[in-house]
Symmetry: C2
Subunit: 415 residues, 2 copies
Amino acid sequence: MTSLPEIDGERLLARLDAFAEIGATPGGGVNRQALTRGDRQARALMTALAKARDFSVFQDDAANLFIRMEGRDSDLPPLLIGSHLDSQPTGGRFDGALGTLTAFEVLESLADVAFEPTRPIEVVVWTNEEGCRFAPGCMGARAFVEGKIPLEWAGTRATDDGSRFNEDRLATIEALAPEIDHRRLGFPVAAYLELHIEQGPSLESAEIPVGIVTGVQGTRWLEVLFEGQTAHAGTTSLQFRRDPLKALTTGLAALYETVMPEKADARFTVGRIAVTPGSVNAIPATASCTIDLRHPDTFVLDMLEEDIGTQLAAAAETERVSFSIRKTVDMAPVTFSEDVVATLQTAAKTAGFNTRSMISGAFHDALFLAGHAPTAMIFVPCRDGLSHNEGEYVKPEDSVAGAHMFLASVLELLR
Amino acid sequence: MTSLPEIDGERLLARLDAFAEIGATPGGGVNRQALTRGDRQARALMTALAKARDFSVFQDDAANLFIRMEGRDSDLPPLLIGSHLDSQPTGGRFDGALGTLTAFEVLESLADVAFEPTRPIEVVVWTNEEGCRFAPGCMGARAFVEGKIPLEWAGTRATDDGSRFNEDRLATIEALAPEIDHRRLGFPVAAYLELHIEQGPSLESAEIPVGIVTGVQGTRWLEVLFEGQTAHAGTTSLQFRRDPLKALTTGLAALYETVMPEKADARFTVGRIAVTPGSVNAIPATASCTIDLRHPDTFVLDMLEEDIGTQLAAAAETERVSFSIRKTVDMAPVTFSEDVVATLQTAAKTAGFNTRSMISGAFHDALFLAGHAPTAMIFVPCRDGLSHNEGEYVKPEDSVAGAHMFLASVLELLR
């Protein structure tokens, strides 16, 4: 019998440092946006590390990268573990990379002791999780689950240099094609497990090292538009004003006081606001904003969306301006596999980890994989909940603890 | 004894039509921005009309145009009457043009009956009142009153084609220079009188044809900035948010409910609002806006400005975000000459006009002339108070009534 596999914390942290050098920014973060030169360098390094350990490497038509360890029965669908290596333009060094390198560390730790899993294990690097260079996000995971690349993505242009998604995708695939084999999209998967930084402050503030993620909250994006009458700031008295920004701010002020204070699990965010014509001395003609609304429960989302419409419409009526609201995104809440979650809880208990069950507030590739295979996630704390920011930071001991938990979970899933 | 001068309403309306053709826009307005080809065409037409009546024509270094009728004593400072001919990019046909052409109609009506005034009368066309192509507005009137062109204007670039103020100013002067004489900036003036459309709805709604303007309200421009902490919309619960837009909208909502409702003469306008980074799914890092605050009384302006600072600071404190406010414009209220205002009231009474005394909400060239000579203004109603808009409209009978009132006022001022 071989000895038990163990995480090599030093190796994991060294790998994190090595990947953080690719696309490193002066502020200590990374700019390694999807399908750029930096992203390709990261894929090349990942491939080189895999080949050095004699793992086989594949990529599919979405440029998703797979690193495979064979199992006792190679015909069984693999256990899939991983995350992404692309980043925001001024992103942190842990978002995506920590999950990918933790999965690879697990593979190496198994190889270190010549562990033979019951089924194949594959580390996956999903393409374009962030969605900031090419929308939408999670392109690789979406295409994998759909089994094809949606036609409408072909002409999508990059926000930075204007190049086409299709060209950058093919160039990325071709850069590695001589060294690695092709794989079809959407092959069967036994289960999917992803580790990620929380990107929120709850684990850190509760001093809990591991979150077991039981699902992803639902998200709706709304576009709100008020239309009034532009007029001269100096000459138009109150009775003649039809000010759409007054309606918008009054309506938003009311919503800020009700939505989140009354529903602890709700998230209500106005990330964009604008007026036209945007002149210091003109009452605006239009005022608009976006609303990002989230909650784990579809029923509550429906109720909140109705509340928002009602309150904003009332503000519009008071100011005698017209009002419209349009839903641009409606992602239903996802509940992860109860079996996988239970397995993680067992693994945590056995390994002695203090955990918290939690809902993910952010999208992840796992949200899409949940439609393809039994799926769950593990979160580790990050400082001040800060992410999508060069100051993103995870304590070394938390990264290593997460890897221990991930290894224990993989072993439990393989039983 | 000559017969009494009389306004020729048909002639005035025909002149308005002729000038509305210069820079006419498809929407029925004009685009005759300062020192453009259209502006030069308007000056050329004005000059041709003046020469056809044997008036002498001058221009100064600011390209202000003067059309002079001699008086009994040519050494006395002239009575100055006029307005401007430049427009907003999608401006109306009455803003500026009505006052200029009314002043010229008065000059023609006097010439029709060979009326000899006690002192010279000059019609002035001020350069760049609007300030939209080259900031600031009222450049011609400012330079006239200062007696020189401020050095800092020389390099100012046009917002449309990027050409320099100084080059366009000289080209405009040179285009007319062969035909007309030069005049120094800031010569002595007996009194200044300007007719303008109200650019607000109060005369129209009260069905009063003439406003006697006793002053211009004070204006302050404030720039407000809240700085919080950007964070993920989905993962950050209420207790961890430091949302600057929540602070801004809450603060503004409170101000909308107090400033204007409590002070009938106050004007409170937020014309610009912005957040960074401006991402649908990110709590903003910063939220900013402009405030345009007006009132005829400096004491009340001081009080309101303090109130605004206090209320916004309180909102910032509640949301744990930082707050700053900066004053970028502070134009004190101006009170026009009591003598000129009394003379206008006498003229109105004699001529049988129903008038209203009022404060101008907008800037005008007269605001600057008030620092140089006894000054007042006459307002005529415009439809729905609409101005800076192609739909700007003045009823023909209101234009003609305004000209009658203007002639009566000029005759009274000459007594």
